[in-house]
């Protein structure tokens, strides 16, 4: 009797599955066209959704939370001055957890009212998830994924993202690398450099660029690595020769850089510490006579003063491009909503045509995106000139002074 019931159940399941399959293959052709997520029209209501893919938890949480603070700061400023509000929907990618980043991408892709995405934060995450976003018609605008190959193909290889779907409100590694190596060789006139990357894609990309450029200018360069999870740098510092003139640390965690500096000085080594934009954190990385490359941000501007006031006097700039990314997407949505309806394709088209003035972006330069290759290392999706990095020196008292 039991076997009979089981057999009947099995037959029923198979029959149902077969029926569903036949129904699906005979579905009207127009159903497929209406389901195209890129062109699906959504009524422009009072609130527009923008996704934010960032590391809310995990080892990079401190960076992700900073990006979120800037994005929410943008949201609150935008909503104060615009009738149609935006709401940022958070997706925790737990960088460098690729599976989690993909899960967030699928979640955003399937949310029919989601019109654009800020992020993802990491270059590897972008490469891993961008096709999910592309298939859903969503443009992604990142404030921190800086690998050159995302927008500019290496010789013999395609670029890592499809054109006109990926944009970044941060200059790429090559632009920053050029700035840094020029400053070390031509301004500081140093020739013995020790480079330490933190094993993450951002850091390795920058370290590779700077190493290549410094060696091309006949500097003596030693390359080393350290995990982002390490806080005790004493043994790593033992490896650094005493006659090293500059230690370049393209890291993302300003607190770690501060620890590294104090441990370096405790060990009696006097090399100049030079950090990347990830270390631009005036309240945290205060190592005197050190250098940092970063956006030409004006912390005395009204907007940045407002940010500081709203965030316990934090002077942090790493997350600022996420503010700009939000502005890019929100402006594109607003433009697309003029006729009362909006689609992801329209938003994406408007992002491609972005033209934001310097005062609005807070980055210290106007923002518009390149549509094709430019120079040696920029491509479609990168910001056009004059977007570039500046160099800051940390003076006594932790004050950041722009020197280039």
């Amino acid at each position: 009797m039991r076997k009979l019931l089981f057999g009947a159940g099995l037959v029923a399941v198979v029959a149902t599955a077969a029926t569903a399959a036949i129904a699906a293959t005979h579905a009207p052709a127009t159903h497929a066209a209406k389901a195209n997520p890129a062109t699906r029209l959504v009524k422009c209501g009072n609130t527009h959704l923008i996704g934010m893919a960032f590391p809310a938890t995990g080892d990079a949480a401190s960076l992700g939370q900073q990006q979120l603070r800037w994005a929410l700061f943008f949201q609150s400023r935008w909503n104060k001055t615009h009738k149609a509000k935006i709401r940022i929907v958070q997706g925790d990618t737990q960088l460098p957890n690729t599976a989690q980043a993909l899960s967030v991408a699928h979640q955003f892709a399937s949310a029919t009212t989601m019109l654009g995405v800020i992020g993802p934060a990491g270059s590897q995450e972008v490469q891993d998830t961008v096709n999910v976003y592309k298939n859903a018609g969503l443009a992604v605008v990142t404030g921190s994924a800086t690998r050159v190959a995302l927008t500019r193909a290496k010789t013999g290889k395609p670029r890592e993202t499809p054109a006109n779907y990926f944009f970044r409100t941060v200059p790429n590694d090559d632009q920053q690398g050029q700035r840094v190596s020029n400053y070390i060789r031509k301004t500081l006139k140093k020739s013995r450099v020790y480079i330490i990357d933190d094993d993450e894609a951002y850091s390795q990309g920058l370290a590779d660029q700077v190493q290549k450029l410094l060696r091309a200018s006949n500097a003596s360069v030693t390359r080393d690595h350290v995990s982002q999870s390490v806080s005790d740098f004493s043994s790593l510092i033992t490896r650094i020769p005493s006659n090293t003139q500059v230690v370049y640390i393209p890291w993302q965690l300003a607190g770690k850089a501060q620890l590294f500096f104090t441990q370096l000085r405790t060990a009696g080594k006097s090399a100049i510490v030079f950090g990347s934009d990830g270390l631009f954190a005036p309240g945290t990385f205060t190592a005197p006579n050190s250098y940092v490359s970063a956006f030409p941000v004006d912390f005395n501007s009204a907007a940045l003063k407002a940010y500081k006031k709203a965030h316990a006097n934090k002077e942090e700039a790493f997350g600022l491009p996420s503010y700009t990314a939000g502005l890019v997407v929100a402006t594109a949505i607003e433009k697309a909503c003029k006729d009362g309806n909006v689609s992801r394709a329209e938003v994406r088209k408007n992002i491609i045509q972005t033209k934001l003035p310097k005062a609005a972006t807070l980055l210290g330069f106007a923002v518009r995106f390149l549509h094709k290759n430019s120079g040696a290392s920029q491509g479609n999706g990168d910001m056009a000139a004059p977007a570039n990095f500046a160099v800051f020196r940390i003076a006594k008292g932790g004050k950041y002074v722009r020197v280039s």
């Binding site: 401190s62 004493s234 607190g255 205060t286």
Partner: protein
């Protein structure tokens, strides 16, 4: 990945005896911290046969409490009391706070599962670990805090270290700072104190009896619940002390710091022989030295490979650990 052996030999030669001494110094300091945390793992395992995965997070909480006390008294840049009483207060607050937390965790997360299948308290321990980590993440927003000990009595603007970071003595011009002496000295002192408690006190005797046979100990009139709670208290106190010392020596505290430290300390406990107090101490030092020498001679990205490689090697050669007793099976 390519491992250039000649480069390693070249590095050893370049660093010389001075470099070897520095790496030994670094390894002993780090190993002392691992040993303190490992003792907590080994004590709890010895009594309950439970791997307390939340132990690394107790260490993290201890570091935060220490930082809280430091901030309450003005922070490293401008302390309102002298350095010595400030440091003592940090230790006391962290040790007491974490000790109590350990007791609470035992009472509510492990005791109800004492007679459940072994996997149940293990899962509970994992849950407690995630709970603690994410609670701190929510409270701090992922922010990393710096004890700033370099500035405690010093001047960062001129890169002049405070007293804790000044050399206590030098060997071949390589400094050993006061904070390094503090870490090793305090760790040794605590380990000796623990050994004395376990071997010379009534509580220690009760702990050994409970570890040997919990049921029999209970029948002999020992309040095993109280003994177990005391064990958790002691283990958590040691972990908190390690947390404060890590904060003073290295400086950084954040929600995730307990994960890798806990993992390495657990490795130390296993390498030394889980359940063995001298084993945890030796295991901690071994792991610390391995990490230091691997970083110094091979490179930073190899330190974790070396540490966990040691674990595999010891397990293959001596599955019960260096000091672990071989279990006698009745046939």
């Amino acid at each position: 990945m390519h491992l250039p052996l000649l480069d390693i030999i070249d590095t050893i030669r370049t660093l010389g005896w001075g470099g070897a001494f520095e790496l030994a110094r670094n390894g002993i300091v780090l190993g002392s911290l691992y040993a303190l945390i490992a003792l907590g793992y080994t004590l709890v395992y010895g009594i309950l046969k439970l791997l307390n995965f939340a132990h690394g997070d107790i260490y993290m909480i201890g570091a935060f409490i220490g930082f809280g006390v430091l901030s309450a008294f003005g922070g490293a840049g401008n302390p309102s009391i002298a350095i010595l009483p400030l440091v003592i207060l940090m230790f006391l607050a962290a040790m007491l706070g974490s000790g109590l937390l350990g007791v609470v965790i035992e009472r509510f997360a492990y005791r109800p599962l004492r007679n459940a299948p072994r996997i149940a308290p293990l899962i509970s321990a994992l849950g407690v670990s995630f709970f603690l980590q994410n609670s701190v993440l929510l409270l701090t927003g992922g922010q990393r805090y710096n004890y700033g000990t370099f500035e405690l009595g010093g001047d960062l603007s001129t890169a002049t270290p405070g007293p804790l970071f000044r050399p206590a003595f030098t060997v071949d011009q390589r400094p050993v700072t006061w904070v390094q002496v503090l870490v090793v000295g305090t760790s040794l002192g605590l380990m000796v104190a623990l050994t004395l408690v376990v071997s010379r006190t009534r509580l220690g005797k009760a702990m050994r009896a409970t570890a040997f046979d919990r049921e029999a100990a209970s029948m002999m009139g020992i309040d095993t619940d109280r003994v177990i709670a005391s064990t958790f208290f002691i283990g958590s106190v040691l972990a908190a002390a390690a947390g404060v010392m890590f904060g003073l020596y290295i400086g950084e505290t954040y929600h995730f710091m307990g994960f890798l430290a806990g993992l390495k300390a657990f490795t130390a406990a296993v390498v030394g022989g889980i359940g063995s107090i001298p084993g945890a101490m030796v295991g901690g030092l071994l792991i610390g030295l391995t990490e230091a020498y691997a970083t110094g001679y091979i490179g930073g990205q190899w330190s974790d490979v070396a540490v966990f490689g040691i674990l595999i090697l010891v397990m293959l050669v001596r599955p019960n650990g260096l000091f672990g007793a071989r279990a006698i099976q009745k046939v």
